[in-house]
């Protein structure tokens, strides 16, 4: 009995475990396992950077415009470390979006070390012929305007800020200029914006050493809204028909009568049903 009890207990445990764990696994996995998509962007020109996440080296010698990921990290706090020969930036990053960009970049003013900014990516679906364009300011320049096809589309963006809009898919001529000015800090550059996708543009670098550049990242999006209509039937009675039309109001009257009769019949039926229920 003794050994057999043990055996049967163990067997029962195995059984229980196998039955119970998969049942609870979905919830547990959702709560505990990495679910958030994180991209690490190297926005510091003329630097080769080692990136570590939570103390583990993820990739070394990442040159400017390099993108690491997607890393799948748990929501919450993580330590992201960027190391160059002259400096190390150790950053506490709070991951709260389904998709985020962790960007190493220079602040607006001259500084000894770059800074880190987390950008949450808006993955909401867009209309089928549109794309979402997000432009982020991560360069050593004062607040800037973004001119698209020679018009200010986004005004007065400061370092660490972004703007976003839904635009038709296509190629845009983009210029970054100091707010209120037209002399480019960056561009004009031809920027393709894909319909059904999120296009993220990070302006990086310093105008003083000619290192202004842009990191462009694209993520697919779902489709919102319906396709373009083939017809719009927005009238039926002919009450506003142009002179010489056939039918129209004359047609409408008998139909109104018919409609009224149908309505009365319906009311009568409802009344009967109510009586039946009672």
């Amino acid at each position: 009995m003794n050994s057999s009890t043990l055996t049967s207990t163990a067997a029962a445990a195995v059984l229980v475990s196998f039955v119970a764990i998969p049942a609870s696994a979905t919830g547990a996995r959702h709560a505990l396992s990495p679910t958030e998509q994180v991209f690490v962007l190297q926005g510091v020109p003329h630097a080769a950077v080692d990136v570590s996440v939570d103390g583990k080296l993820v990739k070394s010698n990442i040159s400017a415009k390099g993108i690491v990921g997607p890393l799948m990290l748990t929501p919450g706090k993580h330590t992201v470390t960027f190391a160059e020969t002259g400096w190390t930036v150790k950053s506490m990053v709070h991951i709260s979006h389904a998709s985020s960009d962790v960007v190493l970049h220079w602040p607006a003013d001259v500084a000894k070390k770059p800074v880190v900014t987390v950008y949450g990516n808006d993955l909401a679906p867009v209309a089928s012929d549109k794309g979402r364009l997000t432009v982020a300011h991560t360069a050593v320049v004062p607040p800037a305007d973004i001119l698209v096809d020679n018009k200010v589309l986004f005004a007065n963006i400061a370092n660490g800020q972004f703007v976003t809009a839904e635009v038709p898919g296509g190629t845009y001529k983009v210029v970054v200029a100091p707010t209120g000015e037209t002399k480019p800090l960056l561009g004009p550059v031809n920027l393709p914006v894909k319909a059904g996708a999120l296009t993220r543009v990070f302006a990086i670098g310093k105008p003083s050493n000619g290192s202004m550049d842009a990191i462009v990242q694209v993520l697919p999006l779902g489709s919102a809204g319906s396709s373009a209509p083939g017809s719009v039937d927005a009238g039926s009675a002919g009450l506003v028909a142009t002179p010489g039309s056939s039918g129209g109001v004359e047609t409408a009257r008998p139909l109104l009568v018919a409609g009224g009769l149908i309505g009365m019949a319906g009311l009568a039926m409802m009344a009967r049903r109510r009586r039946t229920v009672r």
Binding site: I67, T117, V118, A136, A228, A234, V240
Partner: protein
């Protein structure tokens, strides 16, 4: 006897503890197996999502996350152990950021205000606008207030057999210079009419510029009009195009 019971009891409890231990070991083993399995799945998913810079990169990131803490401590250049941990900045939208919204009411030049509902294109290709002639429908594949480009399309019935003349009958007498106003949850924009034309219904199609996401931000109003036949109903659409008059207002 008491001794016996005691011995027996302790033997029993040992047995129970062994059972519990066995259960714990098995449970732990299964849990480990599950985590490994989940990790594998996670890595596969990660690799499938986009193109990491190097293969296996994502799974390394994953391990880092699952392991947590500075375990690996793979040496980076310049001893960074003494570097202060600083919170990363969280990107903010520029004050000029506009979050676009669908229109909720439209006010015609006469001052008549109509509720605007969401309208989709049916599988037949017809735009399904509200049956209620006092309401209008905003095509959900078009632009919204605050979008920098494209047509905001709003359509409503000109009339109905059962409800009589619709509010959009006003479109038939609109002309350039008339003003129309849209309100959304947090935005408002006044438009000025630049064109008002009756066009054959057949000239409106899914590819016509009327519905285009391209070009300047504009408001396109559509109803029916023109010649009417008993069999075919209205033969034309009244199409009114209006462009922003003044700035978008936050409210």
């Amino acid at each position: 006897m008491t001794q016996d019971t005691g011995r027996h009891g302790s033997y029993r409890s040992r047995q129970v503890w062994l059972g519990v231990l066995a259960m714990a070991v098995v449970a732990a083993a299964v849990a480990v197996a599950w985590v490994v399995h989940a990790s594998g799945t996670g890595s596969l998913l990660t690799l499938g999502v986009s193109t990491p810079q190097s293969p296996g990169l994502a799974s390394r990131g994953h391990e880092a996350a699952a392991g947590g803490g500075p375990t690996g401590g793979v040496a980076t250049r310049s001893g960074n152990h003494h570097v202060a941990l600083t919170p990363a900045g969280v990107a903010q939208a520029a004050p000029s950021q506009v979050d676009s919204e669908r229109p909720q009411t439209i006010t015609l030049s006469s001052g008549t205000t109509m509720r605007v509902r969401v309208s989709s294109t049916a599988s037949t290709g017809d735009l399904e606008i509200p049956v209620n002639i006092k309401q209008a429908g905003w095509w959900d594949g078009g632009s919204k207030l605050g979008d920098p480009f494209g047509a905001i399309v709003v359509a409503a019935h000109v009339d109905s057999f059962t409800q009589g003349l619709g509010r959009f009958a006003e479109l038939l007498s609109m002309h350039s210079g008339d003003r129309i106003h849209l309100d959304s949850a947090h935005l408002a924009q006044t438009y000025i009419v630049v064109s008002a034309h009756l066009v054959p219904k057949t000239s409106i199609s899914s590819t016509s510029s009327v519905f285009s996401a391209r070009g300047r931000a504009r408001l396109v109003l559509i109803t029916c009009g023109g010649p009417y036949t008993r069999a075919g109903g209205y033969q034309s659409n009244m199409v009114v195009v209006a462009v922003p008059d003044g700035n978008l207002v936050s409210q």
